[in-house]
Symmetry: C2
Subunit: 190 residues, 2 copies
């Protein structure tokens, strides 16, 4: 099941308009705000695929006719803020009590660990859509918790206790770098 | 012509084995060495595409049946080394005298500029395949040169004068972080 959640599970044309994309759309708009205002350069990585067949009807008109989704080897978001490397994964869950770990690949958890070991800033942004509550939680805290608990879910209570609430605003929509300043860059000159 | 150079321009199955991929393959092996040895976490980004049609034959077997290559909005490579954000574009040219700028999208040049402004380390790795010579050149030096010269090519002489030669070794194949240490991190404690 290595396909992104926002792609319909049938063969119809997909609506890639901006409505209803939830957390991903909020983060894209936030990152665009950061970029336009020279605050940070943070992008969502493209969906990794393996291309098997391409039709080149003309020089400018290549159509991919057969390709497969690959398991991502990294998180979805990374970039630079105040010279520091920023890396995070963002996920939504409809679950009211738990964040199911099946939503995150083992490769991605391993990647977050490698980023921490290389001195990068790593975290997760998790939204509980039933309450429209969004939490930023430090990746090291998260990884230590799941290594200790050895369960397939992380309770909402963990995020309430260890996470930072990301309030939605008009612009930037989800100002997570404000939290990054507080957690990781306290004492650094601006 | 927004398609990667390593994809054959017809409708046959593509050989994704490791042979003959040149600079990209050298960099992937180098980045893998850095990752395995806990030196740095640097990945090539997936090729950006727009997915239009997906067949879900079964729950685990999704096939993309129609997709298009998108113009990349960032460079291909980024990651973290010693806490610093690293960003670069890598290109080969068969040309013996010049690097043609048509190989790099304007979006990518603008991205390198944004990275520099956010305090990241940004450079280009350019290989002249006729001589098998590979140069690392600081992005700021490169951008200032092309802004001043206003030409569609950059002569090999520019790279000889301003770049750093990347010698091929056994492992890591193309040790560009050794050059990064010398240019950008001189004086930082290891």
């Amino acid at each position: 099941m290595n396909y992104p959640n926002n792609i319909k599970k049938d063969s119809h044309k997909i609506n890639y308009s901006n409505r209803g994309m939830g957390l991903e759309q909020d983060l894209n708009e936030t990152n665009n705000y950061y970029l336009q205002n020279n605050i940070a350069v943070i992008h969502k990585k493209p969906t990794p695929i393996t291309i098997v067949k391409v039709d080149y009807k003309s020089r400018i008109d290549a159509v991919i006719k057969e390709a497969y989704f690959k398991t991502p080897s990294t998180t979805d978001y990374n970039g630079v803020y105040r010279g520091k490397y920023i890396d995070f994964e963002a996920k939504e869950t409809k679950n009211k009590k738990f964040f199911p770990l099946v939503n995150i690949h083992n490769h991605q958890l391993k990647h977050l660990e490698s980023v921490i070991n290389s001195g990068g800033i790593a975290f997760l942004i998790i939204r509980f859509t039933s309450y429209n509550e969004t939490y930023l939680v430090d990746a090291d805290t998260f990884l230590k918790y799941i290594a200790k608990e050895k369960k397939t879910t992380v309770p909402l209570a963990f995020f309430k206790e260890n996470g930072y609430v990301l309030k939605e605003k008009y612009n930037p929509r989800l100002d997570y770098l404000n939290i990054v300043d507080k957690i990781y860059l306290k004492g650094d000159e601006a």
